[in-house]
């Protein structure tokens, strides 16, 4: 440690913190997301009622006792929405983890080795991309059966092409860097070069994409539950709750409107934060 660094009067804030401080949208998103995370973790303690047990009269509008009313079976919608945060955030995170892992596993060697490996992997990715959006997830559900775990697998699998393409593209450029050549000259194995030299340099774009992907994973996951292929009753899942209230929109609007708004607000939070991250980590990005 040199005297110069010791003498520095105050700690400099990282560029990330500064970029966030300058971006009110990203800060709002971060706070909103933090709130949902806290709610998700603390749901059993902060929710006023049991999310799955009928606690009174059904189909009652919002009151002081039941802020978001009660559903068809007399369950407290507010308590269910709070518990739903835990489910949706888990679906978002786990499916992104699945997609990221599998996508990296495909994209990294494709970009690093190029040639035949690249050709095979990318043809496979093209095949996956032939199923538009939700359809790939539906194909997975059709073969695995409905359920929340399978939703996470399905959403994860359907995001694999996005990650594979990003990781491949970025590792193509990183591969040509001098330090990768140097590592090869020193005699590092291919696996070591990929893990120690290429992967860490992909972190920026991967973090940005993953953040935004958590939002779309929540959207797709809740859509699958809405269609009856994910969470099953009486699970307090936001998409399923929206579906359960669908037939009663005319008279009991609160049953669907609040869970749907919960999805919307969580995804808005993630998108605001993701856009902020992108502006901070990738100044040249086009979609700002």
């Amino acid at each position: 440690m040199t005297p110069a660094t010791e003498a520095r009067p105050r700690r400099r804030r990282s560029p990330l913190v500064r970029a966030f401080a300058r971006n009110p949208g990203a800060t709002i998103g971060l706070c909103l997301l933090a709130a949902w995370i806290v709610v998700g973790l603390a749901a059993p303690w902060v929710a006023p009622y049991d999310p799955t047990a009928p606690i009174g009269m059904g189909r009652r509008g919002p009151t002081a006792a039941h802020w978001m009313g009660t559903d068809l079976l007399g369950r407290d919608v507010f308590s269910r929405v709070l518990h739903g945060s835990r489910i949706s955030l888990t679906v978002g995170l786990i499916s992104v983890a699945i997609g990221l892992f599998a996508g990296t596993l495909m994209g990294l060697p494709a970009g690093y080795y190029g040639g035949r490996v690249d050709e095979i992997v990318m043809r496979f990715v093209d095949g996956m991309l032939a199923f538009p959006g939700l359809l790939l997830a539906l194909v997975v559900i059709a073969s695995l059966g409905p359920g929340l775990t399978n939703v996470m697998i399905a959403v994860g699998v359907s995001s694999v092409p996005v990650y594979a393409r990003l990781v491949r593209g970025s590792s193509l450029t990183v591969r040509a860097q001098d330090y990768v050549q140097a590592a090869r000259v020193v005699g590092s194995s291919d696996g070591r070069i990929m893990l120690r030299h290429i992967l860490p340099n992909l972190l920026g774009p991967v973090i940005v994409l993953s953040t935004l992907q958590v939002g779309s994973a929540i959207l797709v996951g809740s859509a699958l539950s809405y269609l009856g292929m994910g969470a099953q009753p009486p699970t307090p899942e936001w998409g399923l709750m929206t579906a359960e209230g669908r037939a009663y929109m005319a008279n009991y609007w609160w049953m669907s409107t609040f869970p749907g708004f919960a999805i919307f607000s969580a995804v808005v939070a993630i998108n605001l934060m993701g856009d902020g991250l992108r502006a901070a980590l990738d100044p040249k990005s086009k979609l700002r």
Binding site: D126, L135, K286
Partner: protein, 302 residues
């Protein structure tokens, strides 16, 4: 064109495999799901024979692919009629919905994005960015239900269940279109801003061409190249959005057919519908690529 066949081959293989990785006997699942309880050993044997499931895997696969190429997608368990007919009959509804939604998306997204770019950092820009954020963050099914609530129940302008009436297509098309409009406006904005900073725009301005004319004749034309591609690709988004929209609005179509066939465990119907949608999607993407090359002479496919 040469890339098309391997992709279609992969698609059909994936679709064929749906039934193979299934936990349990597909025939029993199908009969329990689609025929609601009529599971007799005779019916199981019959179905297994009719569907060729008693054959070795490679024979089944060969049969599936060669039949699919000839347009024979097997028979639906639930409807007891050829899958091809069911799919084609539903396809027209979805196609109409997708095209109308695409029109909505372009009509909202393009002007909004262009206006935002021309008036960068003004209130128009802020509004368009906000609409963009709403569009990409809103669950389609929730937006659909809110539309039903306001336009059908509160204002009573439109029917709640779209059914077969011509007017019924309006709400699903608006719902689907809004989500894509957000993407289109975002992209139009960013590519037009980029184009406005190009040298040829400065040249045109310098020789005295009015700003509006520069935008229309120079910048917008170049910006639209990227937009056209995205509009084309949005067609795929429409096909997948239709899965949700058709369910929310209780409309017949390919999307609701896929959902129902999965819930019924009607595997030939699932396979046929999925294969059909993927094929249409791949073909549309190919057309978009070709149009793209025609619009931008710098792009040539070897």
């Amino acid at each position: 064109m040469s890339a098309l066949l391997p992709v279609l081959w992969l698609v059909s293989t994936v679709v064929f495999l749906i039934m193979q990785v299934l936990p349990g006997d597909p025939v029993q699942l199908m009969l329990a799901g689609a025929e609601a309880g009529g599971v007799t050993p005779e019916r199981i044997q019959e179905l297994r024979r009719v569907m060729g499931l008693d054959q070795p895997l490679h024979v089944q696969y060969w049969r599936f692919v060669t039949n699919a190429v000839r347009g024979d997608l097997g028979e639906s368990i639930r409807f007891r009629s050829p899958v091809t007919n069911l799919v084609l009959e539903r396809a027209q509804h979805t196609l109409r919905l997708a095209l109308l939604a695409l029109a909505v998306a372009v009509l909202i997204g393009l002007p909004l994005g262009a206006l935002a770019a021309v008036r960068e950092n003004s209130w128009v820009d802020t509004v368009s960015m906000f609409v963009g954020l709403l569009g990409v963050s809103m669950p389609l099914f929730w937006l659909g239900q809110l539309m039903i609530f306001f336009f059908a129940f509160r204002l009573q302008w439109l029917p709640a269940i779209s059914g077969d009436q011509a007017i019924g297509i309006l709400m699903p098309a608006l719902t689907l279109g809004f989500v894509s409009a957000a993407l289109i406006s975002r992209l139009t904005r960013s590519s037009l801003i980029e184009a406005l900073h190009e040298d040829y725009v400065r040249t045109a301005r310098a020789k005295g061409v009015a700003f509006g004319a520069v935008v229309r004749r120079h910048a917008l034309r170049n910006a639209l190249i990227a937009v056209v591609t995205v509009v084309g690709l949005q067609f795929g988004g429409m096909l997948s959005g239709a899965v949700v929209a058709e369910t929310v609005f209780s409309r017949p179509g390919l999307g609701s057919l896929v959902v129902q066939s999965i819930l019924w465990k009607d595997y030939p119907l699932i396979q046929g519908a999925v294969l059909f949608i993927a094929t249409i999607y791949v073909l549309v993407n190919l057309i978009v690529d070709l149009v793209y090359a025609r619009l931008d002479p710098r792009i040539r496919y070897g």
